[in-house]
């Protein structure tokens, strides 16, 4: 019983760690794409050259 409770407790921390990481990276990705589109639209056509 103690082992089971400990294991469940560990999994809660594991879920927290993965949740924070995936969530933060997802937010950063969305923010990058949205900001890129917003700024990209304002750039004059002749200046739109990435590479």
């Amino acid at each position: 019983m103690t082992t089971l409770v400990l294991a469940q407790n560990e999994w809660a921390y594991v879920a927290g760690g993965y949740g924070v990481t995936v969530g933060a990276l997802l937010l950063f990705t969305i923010s990058t794409i949205v900001k890129g589109r917003r700024i990209g639209r304002q750039v004059p056509v002749e200046e739109r050259r990435w590479l």
């Binding site: 921390y13 594991v14 950063f28 990058t32 589109r37 700024i39 739109r48 990435w50």
Partner: protein
């Protein structure tokens, strides 16, 4: 060619071609999208390996149980933050040498990504520490030096935000980008230079303390974090490139307005030219 009625960028000669052809509105290109999909598939496979297929740690010298799964994200995000700050430092040196805008944009793009990965390193380390050490935070050498690293690069970004002149901003930021990187070796070797709660190296030694699927999950996570860093770099660099172009257009327009003011009766058209 991709084009829209109001924005025929896909037909413009400078819009790139093939894999590098840009999205009409944003920072994506066909190549970056294909790469992004590959990274996304990698993330899904990694989550399956790290959370489902790899066993709990019961045999190694540290015996972490299921908590070892946090290491599969904690170590990779730390690797990505080292990589990001190395790119910032190298780009800063290149900027001071070449004085070209591209190196400056590369440096700031990398620093931003590094800040995100450093914050994640501290967050996942804190979660790990709460169950392993019984505390969310300890003024241990590794934790403290990592916090200093985060503050240094937040300062780097704040410095950039506080200077309007692009040339002065790039030069001062480049100096700080090089100086701040001196803290990275301190962070890395802090576990061997000072006694603390943080464990020693697990993988970067000749006899790793884990093996099999556990080692695979950790190494896979590290490779994936660098792949993610590259994806972010592509998009953040393009984002800053676009912002720099906008800034330049605004500067040219402001300059034209000042010149127009200097002439009697001079007016400025919406396109920025003087009549």
């Amino acid at each position: 060619m991709t084009s829209t009625p109001t924005d025929p960028v896909g037909t413009h000669p400078t819009a790139g071609s093939g894999l590098f052809r840009m999205h009409p509105d944003g920072t994506a290109s066909r190549g970056s999208r294909i790469y992004g999909i590959l990274v996304l598939v990698g993330v899904i496979v990694f989550l399956a390996v790290a959370l489902l297929f790899s066993p709990a740690d019961t045999g190694s010298e540290n015996r972490m149980g299921d908590m070892i799964r946090i290491m599969y994200v904690h170590v990779p995000v730390a690797v990505a933050c080292y990589t990001a700050f190395l790119v910032t430092a190298v780009s800063s040196i290149a900027y001071l040498w070449k004085r070209t805008e591209g190196w400056d944009l590369l440096a700031v793009a990398s620093a931003e990504i590094g800040v995100v990965f450093t914050a994640l390193t501290l967050a996942t380390g804190s979660i790990w520490g709460h169950i392993a050490w019984g505390t969310w935070w300890e003024w241990d050498a590794r934790l403290t030096s990592t916090l200093v690293l985060l503050l240094l690069y937040l300062g780097y970004l704040a410095l950039r935000g506080s200077i309007a002149d692009p040339t002065v901003r790039a030069r001062r930021a480049a100096v700080l980008g090089i100086v701040a990187f001196l803290n990275v070796p301190i962070v890395h070797f802090s576990v061997t230079w000072w006694r603390g709660l943080h464990q020693d190296a697990t993988v970067s030694r000749l006899d790793p303390t884990i093996d099999g699927l556990k080692l695979f999950a950790l190494v896979f996570g590290m490779v994936l974090s660098v792949a993610l860093f590259v994806w972010f770099m592509i998009h953040r660099f393009r984002l800053h490139y676009a912002a720099a172009r906008l800034e330049a257009v605004g500067f040219d327009r402001a300059l034209a307005e000042r010149r127009a003011e200097g002439r009697s009766g001079g007016t400025i058209t919406p396109e920025g030219s003087i009549t």
